[in-house]
Symmetry: C2
Subunit: 274 residues, 2 copies
C-alpha cells in the first residue's frame, strides 16, 4: 500500500505559482468575503492568508454584515473592482443564501474556487473555467501518482456542487466512466467495490471501510471531519482500507495541501490574465 | 414488456401549455437562430414551427450568415430584445463555434432549451433554470410511467452537454445513483447491466442490445439516428431488448414528442415571467 502524500506536489505547485506571481507587475490580490463569526472560518482564512503571503499573494479579508443582500452586494462590487484579481466566498453564509446563489455574483474570471454556477457549467461544457480547487486537487493527485484514468471506473461518493459534481465532470474529461453515489444510494459497498478509483467526498468520518474497497483500488479521501478529540479525520478509515487498497491519500496531508496550492495558482492565473 | 409511448404525455403537456399561452396578454415569441443550409435543420425548424403555432406560440426564424461572430451577435441582440421571450440556437453551427460557446450569449431567462453553460451550472446547483428539453423529457417520461428513481441505479450512455450531463444532474436530483458511460467505457455491457434505469443517448444506431440490459430494467432511448433507408432508428435495438426489459421507449414516438412539448412549455413559462 502506498500513501499518496500531497505535500510535495503542493510545494511544487506553490513554487511555480510564486515564480509566476513574482513576474507580474504587482502582487495578485485575493479578496476573501467573510460573513460569519465561525472560528473555523477565521482559522481557515488565516491559514490561506499565510500561504498566500508565502506565495507573493495579498489576501484582503472582506468582512460583511451577516445579511444575504450585503454579501451579494459585496461580491458584485469586488467583481467590478479593478484592483482585485480573485474572489473567494467563505462559508457558512447567512441563512437564506446558498453558496451557489451567492457565487453567481462572482465574475467567472475572478472565480478562483469555481463556486459559481457559470464556472461549473463551463467546466461541464469543456470551456475555459476555474474548477473548484478541491476537485482539481483530486485529479492532480491522481495524475501525479500516475493512476490510469482513461477507461477506469471512478466512483465519487458525494454529490455536492463544490466537490462531487465538478469532480465527476473532471473525471469524465479524463475519459473515466463515472458513478456518483450519495446518501440515498441503496447499496454503497456494492457500488464502491466496482471502483478502480474511489473518491470519498461525503463529509462523514470513516464512512469508507475495507468492505467498500476492491483489492488494488486507489482511494482518495476528501473528507475533513472533526473527531471527538478535536483532531481531523477523513471519510476513509485508512487503517481498515490499507490492507486492501493499492494507495490511499492521508488526512491531513493528502488532498488538503494540494487544494490550497491550486487555489493560489488560480489566483496567480487570474491576475496574469488581467 | 411495456412500450413507453410519449405521444399521450406530450399531448397533455402541450394542452396545458396552450391554455397558459392563451391566457397571456400576447402570444409568446420563440426566436430560432439558424446559421446553416442543412436540410435536416430546416425540416426540424419547420416541425417546431407547426407545433408552436398549434400551441399559440409564434416562431420567428432568424437566419444568420454562417460566421461565428454573426451568430454571437444575433444571440446577444435577441437576448436583449423586448419582444422575444425565448431563444433556440440550431445546429450545426459555423466551424469554430461550439453550441456551448454560442449559447453562453443567450440570456438564461430565455434559454428554453438549457443550452448555455450557465443554465447547466444552475441546474447542477439546484437553482432555477431551464433544463435541456430532451433531458427533462426523459425524466418526465420516467415519472409518468411511475418508474421508481429514488435509490435506483441509473446508467446514462453518453456524456454530451445537451443530454448526458444535464440528465445525470436531473437523475441525481431524483435521488438516483448515476453512472455516466461513453465511448471510452471499458466494458459497456457490464456497466449497463447494473441499471434499473438505462438511458441510451450515445447517438449510435442500435448500440444497446439484449446483452446490455438486466431483466426488468426500464430502457429509455434518446437516439435519433438515420438508417440507410432514411428511416429513424434509436440507440436501442428494441426488438432484441423487448424480451429482457420491463419497458422500452419507442423511436419514433417516445422521447421525441415529449421533448418538443417541453420545449414549447418552456417558451410559455419564459413568456409568462416577463
Amino acid at each position: 500500500m502506498t500513501l499518496l502524500e500531497g505535500r510535495a506536489l503542493a510545494a511544487a505547485i506553490r513554487g511555480e505559482a510564486a515564480a509566476e506571481a513574482a513576474a507580474l507587475p504587482s502582487p495578485p490580490v485575493l479578496a476573501a468575503v467573510v460573513a460569519t463569526d465561525d472560528p473555523a472560518t477565521e482559522w481557515y482564512v488565516g491559514s490561506i492568508a499565510k500561504a498566500a503571503a508565502a506565495t507573493g499573494i495579498e489576501l484582503r479579508e472582506e468582512r460583511v454584515v451577516q445579511e444575504p443582500d450585503a454579501v451579494r452586494q459585496r461580491l458584485k462590487e469586488l467583481s467590478a473592482a479593478g484592483d482585485v484579481h480573485a474572489i473567494l466566498c467563505l462559508t457558512p453564509l447567512p441563512a437564506g443564501l446558498s453558496l451557489a446563489e451567492a457565487a453567481a455574483h462572482i465574475a467567472p474570471a475572478k472565480d478562483v474556487d469555481g463556486a459559481s454556477p457559470t464556472s461549473l457549467g463551463r467546466l461541464a461544457a469543456g470551456l475555459d473555467a476555474f474548477a473548484p480547487a478541491t476537485a482539481q486537487a483530486v485529479v492532480e493527485l491522481l495524475r501525479h501518482s500516475e493512476t490510469p484514468l482513461e477507461g477506469a471506473h471512478a466512483v465519487v461518493v458525494g454529490r455536492s456542487i463544490v466537490v462531487g459534481k465538478p469532480l465527476a465532470m473532471l473525471l469524465l474529461a479524463e475519459q473515466a466512466t463515472v458513478t456518483i453515489c450519495h446518501t440515498r444510494t441503496r447499496d454503497l459497498p456494492s457500488e464502491t467495490r466496482r471502483a478502480d478509483v474511489l473518491v470519498a467526498a461525503a463529509g462523514r468520518a470513516h464512512l469508507i471501510g475495507a468492505e467498500h474497497v476492491a483489492p488494488g483500488a486507489v482511494v482518495v479521501d476528501v473528507g475533513t471531519n472533526e473527531a471527538e478529540d478535536g483532531s481531523m479525520v477523513g471519510d476513509v478509515d485508512t487503517a481498515a482500507v490499507e490492507p486492501v487498497a493499492k494507495a490511499v491519500t492521508p488526512v491531513p496531508g493528502g488532498v488538503g495541501p494540494v487544494t490550497t496550492a491550486i487555489l493560489l495558482r488560480n489566483v496567480v492565473t487570474a491576475a496574469g490574465r488581467r
